[in-house]
Assembly symmetry: none
Homo-oligomer: 207 residues x 2
Protein backbone atom coordinates (compact mmCIF):
# COMPACT_ATOMS: atom_id res chain seq x y z
CA UNK A 1 0.00 0.00 0.00
CA UNK A 2 3.01 2.30 -0.29
CA UNK A 3 3.05 5.19 -2.67
CA UNK A 4 5.31 5.38 -5.68
CA UNK A 5 7.48 8.42 -6.20
CA UNK A 6 5.09 9.89 -8.75
CA UNK A 7 2.15 9.36 -6.46
CA UNK A 8 3.91 11.10 -3.61
CA UNK A 9 4.85 13.99 -5.87
CA UNK A 10 1.33 14.48 -7.12
CA UNK A 11 -0.21 14.12 -3.67
CA UNK A 12 2.08 16.73 -2.21
CA UNK A 13 1.53 19.03 -5.15
CA UNK A 14 -2.20 18.91 -4.58
CA UNK A 15 -1.73 19.61 -0.89
CA UNK A 16 0.53 22.55 -1.64
CA UNK A 17 -1.84 24.04 -4.19
CA UNK A 18 -4.82 23.83 -1.89
CA UNK A 19 -2.82 25.39 0.90
CA UNK A 20 -1.54 28.23 -1.23
CA UNK A 21 -4.47 28.96 -3.51
CA UNK A 22 -7.45 27.61 -1.67
CA UNK A 23 -8.72 25.52 -4.55
CA UNK A 24 -7.66 22.14 -5.84
CA UNK A 25 -5.68 22.03 -9.09
CA UNK A 26 -7.34 20.67 -12.21
CA UNK A 27 -5.96 17.53 -13.76
CA UNK A 28 -4.41 19.62 -16.52
CA UNK A 29 -2.78 21.93 -14.04
CA UNK A 30 -1.15 18.91 -12.44
CA UNK A 31 0.04 17.79 -15.87
CA UNK A 32 1.45 21.22 -16.54
CA UNK A 33 3.35 21.36 -13.30
CA UNK A 34 5.11 18.08 -14.01
CA UNK A 35 5.59 18.73 -17.71
CA UNK A 36 3.30 15.92 -18.74
CA UNK A 37 1.40 16.07 -21.97
CA UNK A 38 -1.57 13.86 -21.33
CA UNK A 39 -4.21 13.98 -18.64
CA UNK A 40 -5.06 10.32 -18.64
CA UNK A 41 -1.86 9.21 -16.97
CA UNK A 42 -2.36 11.67 -14.16
CA UNK A 43 -5.97 10.65 -13.90
CA UNK A 44 -4.93 7.04 -13.41
CA UNK A 45 -2.57 8.13 -10.62
CA UNK A 46 -5.36 10.08 -8.96
CA UNK A 47 -7.50 6.93 -9.04
CA UNK A 48 -4.64 4.99 -7.49
CA UNK A 49 -4.31 7.56 -4.71
CA UNK A 50 -8.04 7.33 -4.18
CA UNK A 51 -7.90 3.54 -3.99
CA UNK A 52 -5.09 3.79 -1.44
CA UNK A 53 -7.09 6.20 0.64
CA UNK A 54 -5.11 9.38 0.19
CA UNK A 55 -7.44 11.29 -2.07
CA UNK A 56 -11.19 11.69 -2.45
CA UNK A 57 -13.23 13.13 -5.28
CA UNK A 58 -16.78 13.81 -6.34
CA UNK A 59 -16.89 12.03 -9.71
CA UNK A 60 -17.23 14.40 -12.62
CA UNK A 61 -17.14 17.54 -10.52
CA UNK A 62 -14.45 20.02 -11.35
CA UNK A 63 -11.53 20.50 -8.99
CA UNK A 64 -12.91 18.05 -6.49
CA UNK A 65 -9.74 16.01 -5.96
CA UNK A 66 -8.55 16.69 -2.45
CA UNK A 67 -6.64 14.94 0.33
CA UNK A 68 -8.65 12.86 2.77
CA UNK A 69 -6.35 13.61 5.66
CA UNK A 70 -6.33 17.15 6.81
CA UNK A 71 -2.76 18.20 6.97
CA UNK A 72 -2.56 19.85 10.34
CA UNK A 73 -1.50 23.21 9.09
CA UNK A 74 0.09 25.40 11.68
CA UNK A 75 -0.95 28.78 10.59
CA UNK A 76 1.14 31.81 11.21
CA UNK A 77 0.19 34.13 13.91
CA UNK A 78 -2.80 36.05 12.79
CA UNK A 79 -4.11 39.40 13.68
CA UNK A 80 -7.10 39.42 15.97
CA UNK A 81 -9.70 42.11 15.71
CA UNK A 82 -11.13 43.01 19.09
CA UNK A 83 -14.26 44.96 18.48
CA UNK A 84 -15.00 46.21 21.93
CA UNK A 85 -12.99 45.77 25.05
CA UNK A 86 -14.97 45.61 28.23
CA UNK A 87 -13.62 47.84 30.96
CA UNK A 88 -11.20 46.14 33.26
CA UNK A 89 -10.59 43.12 31.10
CA UNK A 90 -7.02 42.58 30.09
CA UNK A 91 -6.30 42.97 26.43
CA UNK A 92 -5.27 39.37 26.02
CA UNK A 93 -8.69 38.09 26.96
CA UNK A 94 -9.39 35.87 23.98
CA UNK A 95 -13.16 35.81 24.22
CA UNK A 96 -13.58 39.11 22.48
CA UNK A 97 -11.99 38.17 19.17
CA UNK A 98 -14.42 39.22 16.47
CA UNK A 99 -12.34 38.22 13.52
CA UNK A 100 -8.99 36.80 12.59
CA UNK A 101 -7.31 38.54 9.70
CA UNK A 102 -4.90 36.55 7.54
CA UNK A 103 -2.17 39.05 8.22
CA UNK A 104 1.13 38.44 9.91
CA UNK A 105 0.89 40.82 12.82
CA UNK A 106 4.63 41.42 12.42
CA UNK A 107 3.74 43.47 9.38
CA UNK A 108 3.29 46.38 11.70
CA UNK A 109 6.64 46.13 13.37
CA UNK A 110 6.09 43.79 16.23
CA UNK A 111 4.02 40.77 17.05
CA UNK A 112 1.20 40.93 19.49
CA UNK A 113 -0.67 43.73 17.79
CA UNK A 114 -4.42 43.64 17.56
CA UNK A 115 -7.08 45.42 15.57
CA UNK A 116 -10.04 47.58 16.43
CA UNK A 117 -12.84 48.55 14.14
CA UNK A 118 -12.97 52.31 13.85
CA UNK A 119 -16.37 53.86 14.25
CA UNK A 120 -17.30 57.44 13.60
CA UNK A 121 -15.45 60.33 12.15
CA UNK A 122 -13.45 61.58 15.09
CA UNK A 123 -10.12 60.79 13.44
CA UNK A 124 -10.70 61.99 9.91
CA UNK A 125 -8.07 64.66 10.38
CA UNK A 126 -5.53 61.85 10.38
CA UNK A 127 -7.29 60.23 7.45
CA UNK A 128 -8.74 57.43 9.48
CA UNK A 129 -12.24 56.59 8.29
CA UNK A 130 -15.28 54.92 9.71
CA UNK A 131 -14.92 51.21 9.01
CA UNK A 132 -11.15 51.13 9.02
CA UNK A 133 -9.32 48.65 11.20
CA UNK A 134 -6.88 50.40 13.50
CA UNK A 135 -3.82 48.33 14.38
CA UNK A 136 -2.78 48.75 17.99
CA UNK A 137 0.44 47.69 19.65
CA UNK A 138 -0.24 47.04 23.32
CA UNK A 139 1.50 49.43 25.64
CA UNK A 140 0.80 50.94 29.04
CA UNK A 141 2.03 54.34 28.02
CA UNK A 142 2.69 56.47 24.98
CA UNK A 143 4.68 59.58 24.21
CA UNK A 144 3.13 63.01 24.18
CA UNK A 145 1.28 63.59 20.93
CA UNK A 146 0.97 59.98 19.85
CA UNK A 147 -2.27 58.32 18.88
CA UNK A 148 -3.48 55.65 21.24
CA UNK A 149 -6.43 53.41 22.00
CA UNK A 150 -7.63 54.56 25.39
CA UNK A 151 -10.35 53.95 27.90
CA UNK A 152 -11.30 56.23 30.77
CA UNK A 153 -12.82 54.64 33.81
CA UNK A 154 -16.36 55.75 34.21
CA UNK A 155 -16.23 58.01 31.18
CA UNK A 156 -15.39 55.96 28.14
CA UNK A 157 -16.47 52.38 28.45
CA UNK A 158 -14.95 51.10 25.27
CA UNK A 159 -11.68 51.66 23.54
CA UNK A 160 -11.45 54.79 21.42
CA UNK A 161 -8.72 56.32 19.37
CA UNK A 162 -7.37 59.60 20.68
CA UNK A 163 -4.35 61.80 20.38
CA UNK A 164 -2.79 61.82 23.83
CA UNK A 165 -1.32 65.12 25.04
CA UNK A 166 0.47 65.11 28.36
CA UNK A 167 0.90 68.33 30.27
CA UNK A 168 1.99 68.95 33.81
CA UNK A 169 -0.37 66.99 35.98
CA UNK A 170 -2.98 66.49 33.35
CA UNK A 171 -3.83 64.43 30.32
CA UNK A 172 -5.73 65.65 27.27
CA UNK A 173 -7.41 63.36 24.80
CA UNK A 174 -7.88 65.02 21.43
CA UNK A 175 -9.85 63.89 18.43
CA UNK A 176 -8.49 64.64 15.01
CA UNK A 177 -11.63 66.49 14.07
CA UNK A 178 -12.43 70.06 15.07
CA UNK A 179 -16.04 69.07 15.70
CA UNK A 180 -14.99 67.25 18.85
CA UNK A 181 -13.85 68.98 22.00
CA UNK A 182 -10.80 67.57 23.73
CA UNK A 183 -11.30 65.71 26.98
CA UNK A 184 -9.14 67.04 29.77
CA UNK A 185 -8.30 65.08 32.92
CA UNK A 186 -6.47 66.67 35.78
CA UNK A 187 -5.15 65.49 39.09
CA UNK A 188 -6.77 62.30 40.30
CA UNK A 189 -8.91 62.06 37.18
CA UNK A 190 -5.80 61.63 35.09
CA UNK A 191 -5.22 58.32 36.82
CA UNK A 192 -8.38 56.99 35.27
CA UNK A 193 -7.02 57.24 31.78
CA UNK A 194 -6.07 53.73 30.70
CA UNK A 195 -3.91 53.41 27.65
CA UNK A 196 -4.36 50.17 25.79
CA UNK A 197 -1.73 50.70 23.17
CA UNK A 198 -0.35 52.84 20.44
CA UNK A 199 -1.68 53.15 16.91
CA UNK A 200 0.86 51.60 14.55
CA UNK A 201 -1.10 50.82 11.41
CA UNK A 202 -4.33 50.74 9.51
CA UNK A 203 -6.16 48.36 7.22
CA UNK A 204 -9.03 49.43 5.01
CA UNK A 205 -11.14 46.93 3.11
CA UNK A 206 -14.11 46.97 0.83
CA UNK A 207 -13.42 50.30 -0.79
Amino acid sequence: MDLTRRQKEILSFIQKEIEEKGISPSVREICGHFGLKSTSGVHRILKALERKGYLASAPGKKRSWRPTRLQGGLYKKRLSVLGQIAAGLPIDAQEEVLEELPVDSGLFGQEGCFGLYVRGDSMTGLHIKDGDIAIIRPSRDVEDGEVAAVMVEGVISEATLKIVRKKKGRVELHAANPLYEPLVFEGADAEGVKILGRLVGLIRRGI
Copy 2:
Protein backbone atom coordinates in the same frame (compact mmCIF):
# COMPACT_ATOMS: atom_id res chain seq x y z
CA MET B 1 -20.69 47.18 4.35
CA ASP B 2 -23.46 45.10 5.86
CA LEU B 3 -24.77 42.00 4.18
CA THR B 4 -28.32 41.55 3.03
CA ARG B 5 -30.26 38.51 4.14
CA ARG B 6 -29.73 36.75 0.83
CA GLN B 7 -26.04 37.49 0.95
CA LYS B 8 -25.76 36.05 4.43
CA GLU B 9 -27.70 32.95 3.40
CA ILE B 10 -25.50 32.29 0.42
CA LEU B 11 -22.29 32.97 2.30
CA SER B 12 -23.21 30.57 5.04
CA PHE B 13 -24.34 27.94 2.56
CA ILE B 14 -20.96 28.08 0.88
CA GLN B 15 -19.22 27.77 4.22
CA LYS B 16 -21.35 24.80 5.18
CA GLU B 17 -20.82 23.02 1.88
CA ILE B 18 -17.07 23.41 2.03
CA GLU B 19 -17.01 22.20 5.58
CA GLU B 20 -19.21 19.19 4.88
CA LYS B 21 -18.14 18.15 1.42
CA GLY B 22 -14.69 19.56 1.03
CA ILE B 23 -15.40 21.38 -2.22
CA SER B 24 -17.09 24.62 -2.98
CA PRO B 25 -20.59 24.47 -4.50
CA SER B 26 -21.05 25.50 -8.11
CA VAL B 27 -23.22 28.49 -8.85
CA ARG B 28 -25.96 26.18 -10.05
CA GLU B 29 -25.79 24.10 -6.91
CA ILE B 30 -26.35 27.28 -4.93
CA CYS B 31 -29.33 28.07 -7.14
CA GLY B 32 -30.71 24.60 -6.58
CA HIS B 33 -30.43 24.81 -2.83
CA PHE B 34 -32.43 28.02 -2.71
CA GLY B 35 -34.88 27.00 -5.39
CA LEU B 36 -33.71 29.69 -7.77
CA LYS B 37 -33.96 29.18 -11.48
CA SER B 38 -31.31 31.45 -12.85
CA THR B 39 -27.62 31.56 -12.16
CA SER B 40 -27.06 35.19 -12.95
CA GLY B 41 -28.78 36.49 -9.86
CA VAL B 42 -26.67 34.29 -7.64
CA HIS B 43 -23.60 35.28 -9.57
CA ARG B 44 -24.32 38.93 -8.89
CA ILE B 45 -24.61 38.17 -5.19
CA LEU B 46 -21.30 36.34 -5.27
CA LYS B 47 -19.72 39.41 -6.82
CA ALA B 48 -21.27 41.56 -4.11
CA LEU B 49 -19.84 39.29 -1.43
CA GLU B 50 -16.49 39.51 -3.16
CA ARG B 51 -16.67 43.29 -3.26
CA LYS B 52 -17.49 43.34 0.43
CA GLY B 53 -14.57 41.11 1.19
CA TYR B 54 -16.32 37.93 2.24
CA LEU B 55 -15.60 35.74 -0.77
CA ALA B 56 -12.71 35.23 -3.12
CA SER B 57 -12.56 33.51 -6.47
CA ALA B 58 -10.17 32.66 -9.24
CA PRO B 59 -12.06 34.13 -12.21
CA GLY B 60 -13.36 31.52 -14.60
CA LYS B 61 -12.13 28.56 -12.58
CA LYS B 62 -14.76 26.10 -11.54
CA ARG B 63 -15.80 25.90 -7.92
CA SER B 64 -13.33 28.53 -6.85
CA TRP B 65 -15.72 30.67 -4.81
CA ARG B 66 -14.69 30.39 -1.20
CA PRO B 67 -14.71 32.47 1.98
CA THR B 68 -11.80 34.74 2.73
CA ARG B 69 -12.32 34.65 6.46
CA LEU B 70 -14.52 33.35 9.30
CA GLN B 71 -13.75 29.93 7.90
CA GLY B 72 -10.56 28.01 7.37
CA GLY B 73 -7.47 30.04 6.84
CA LEU B 74 -5.90 27.91 4.21
CA TYR B 75 -4.58 30.79 2.23
CA LYS B 76 -1.10 32.11 2.65
CA LYS B 77 -0.47 33.92 -0.56
CA ARG B 78 1.41 37.09 -0.03
CA LEU B 79 0.83 40.52 -1.35
CA SER B 80 3.40 42.04 -3.66
CA VAL B 81 4.06 45.74 -3.63
CA LEU B 82 4.87 47.07 -7.08
CA GLY B 83 6.32 50.51 -6.61
CA GLN B 84 6.23 51.81 -10.11
CA ILE B 85 4.95 50.16 -13.21
CA ALA B 86 6.81 51.08 -16.37
CA ALA B 87 4.58 52.01 -19.25
CA GLY B 88 3.62 49.09 -21.42
CA LEU B 89 4.67 46.40 -19.05
CA PRO B 90 1.95 43.97 -18.12
CA ILE B 91 0.90 43.99 -14.51
CA ASP B 92 2.08 40.48 -13.93
CA ALA B 93 5.67 41.34 -14.69
CA GLN B 94 7.30 40.02 -11.58
CA GLU B 95 10.52 41.99 -11.83
CA GLU B 96 9.10 45.09 -10.24
CA VAL B 97 8.25 43.60 -6.89
CA LEU B 98 9.57 45.99 -4.28
CA GLU B 99 8.32 44.21 -1.25
CA GLU B 100 6.34 41.18 -0.18
CA LEU B 101 3.88 41.84 2.58
CA PRO B 102 2.94 38.97 4.88
CA VAL B 103 -0.71 39.45 4.04
CA ASP B 104 -3.09 37.02 2.43
CA SER B 105 -4.13 38.90 -0.67
CA GLY B 106 -7.51 37.26 -0.31
CA LEU B 107 -8.05 39.62 2.61
CA PHE B 108 -9.15 42.13 0.06
CA GLY B 109 -11.62 39.92 -1.72
CA GLN B 110 -9.74 38.22 -4.46
CA GLU B 111 -6.36 36.80 -5.11
CA GLY B 112 -3.95 38.44 -7.43
CA CYS B 113 -4.13 41.87 -5.88
CA PHE B 114 -1.00 43.94 -5.61
CA GLY B 115 0.06 47.04 -3.76
CA LEU B 116 1.27 50.44 -4.82
CA TYR B 117 2.94 52.99 -2.62
CA VAL B 118 0.89 56.15 -2.62
CA ARG B 119 2.82 59.36 -3.13
CA GLY B 120 1.52 62.87 -2.78
CA ASP B 121 -1.70 64.27 -1.48
CA SER B 122 -3.99 63.94 -4.46
CA MET B 123 -6.32 61.47 -2.74
CA THR B 124 -6.62 63.00 0.70
CA GLY B 125 -10.29 63.63 0.09
CA LEU B 126 -10.75 59.87 0.32
CA HIS B 127 -8.48 59.71 3.33
CA ILE B 128 -5.63 58.17 1.46
CA LYS B 129 -2.31 59.55 2.65
CA ASP B 130 1.17 59.86 1.29
CA GLY B 131 2.99 56.67 2.22
CA ASP B 132 -0.06 54.44 2.29
CA ILE B 133 -0.10 51.22 0.32
CA ALA B 134 -3.03 51.11 -2.06
CA ILE B 135 -4.31 47.61 -2.75
CA ILE B 136 -5.25 47.16 -6.39
CA ARG B 137 -7.21 44.35 -7.96
CA PRO B 138 -6.13 43.98 -11.56
CA SER B 139 -8.85 44.79 -14.04
CA ARG B 140 -9.01 46.24 -17.52
CA ASP B 141 -12.01 48.35 -16.72
CA VAL B 142 -13.88 49.88 -13.82
CA GLU B 143 -17.31 51.28 -13.24
CA ASP B 144 -18.00 54.97 -13.48
CA GLY B 145 -16.96 56.71 -10.31
CA GLU B 146 -14.68 54.02 -8.97
CA VAL B 147 -11.12 54.62 -7.91
CA ALA B 148 -8.52 53.00 -10.11
CA ALA B 149 -4.82 52.83 -10.74
CA VAL B 150 -4.39 54.25 -14.22
CA MET B 151 -1.73 55.16 -16.68
CA VAL B 152 -2.14 57.42 -19.69
CA GLU B 153 0.11 56.82 -22.66
CA GLY B 154 2.40 59.74 -23.16
CA VAL B 155 0.92 61.69 -20.30
CA ILE B 156 1.31 59.72 -17.10
CA SER B 157 4.27 57.39 -17.18
CA GLU B 158 3.61 55.66 -13.89
CA ALA B 159 0.54 54.33 -12.18
CA THR B 160 -1.52 56.89 -10.30
CA LEU B 161 -4.70 56.68 -8.34
CA LYS B 162 -7.62 58.49 -9.85
CA ILE B 163 -11.37 58.55 -9.66
CA VAL B 164 -12.55 57.46 -13.10
CA ARG B 165 -15.59 59.20 -14.52
CA LYS B 166 -16.95 57.94 -17.80
CA LYS B 167 -19.09 60.19 -19.93
CA LYS B 168 -20.20 59.82 -23.48
CA GLY B 169 -17.07 59.50 -25.54
CA ARG B 170 -14.75 60.75 -22.89
CA VAL B 171 -12.96 59.76 -19.74
CA GLU B 172 -12.23 62.04 -16.81
CA LEU B 173 -9.61 61.33 -14.20
CA HIS B 174 -10.30 63.15 -10.96
CA ALA B 175 -8.14 63.56 -7.92
CA ALA B 176 -9.81 63.57 -4.53
CA ASN B 177 -8.33 66.95 -3.74
CA PRO B 178 -9.68 70.28 -4.98
CA LEU B 179 -6.14 71.51 -5.58
CA TYR B 180 -5.86 69.23 -8.58
CA GLU B 181 -7.69 69.80 -11.84
CA PRO B 182 -9.31 66.79 -13.45
CA LEU B 183 -7.73 65.36 -16.56
CA VAL B 184 -10.16 65.01 -19.43
CA PHE B 185 -9.61 62.74 -22.41
CA GLU B 186 -11.93 62.79 -25.37
CA GLY B 187 -12.20 60.84 -28.57
CA ALA B 188 -8.97 59.16 -29.59
CA ASP B 189 -7.22 60.40 -26.47
CA ALA B 190 -9.60 58.36 -24.33
CA GLU B 191 -8.09 55.24 -25.86
CA GLY B 192 -4.78 56.07 -24.24
CA VAL B 193 -6.18 55.72 -20.74
CA LYS B 194 -4.98 52.37 -19.44
CA ILE B 195 -6.66 51.04 -16.35
CA LEU B 196 -4.49 48.78 -14.28
CA GLY B 197 -7.02 47.86 -11.67
CA ARG B 198 -9.50 48.94 -9.07
CA LEU B 199 -8.73 50.17 -5.57
CA VAL B 200 -10.00 47.59 -3.10
CA GLY B 201 -8.06 48.28 0.07
CA LEU B 202 -5.42 50.15 1.94
CA ILE B 203 -2.60 49.42 4.35
CA ARG B 204 -0.90 52.07 6.43
CA ARG B 205 2.20 51.32 8.43
CA GLY B 206 4.57 53.19 10.64
CA ILE B 207 2.10 55.67 12.03
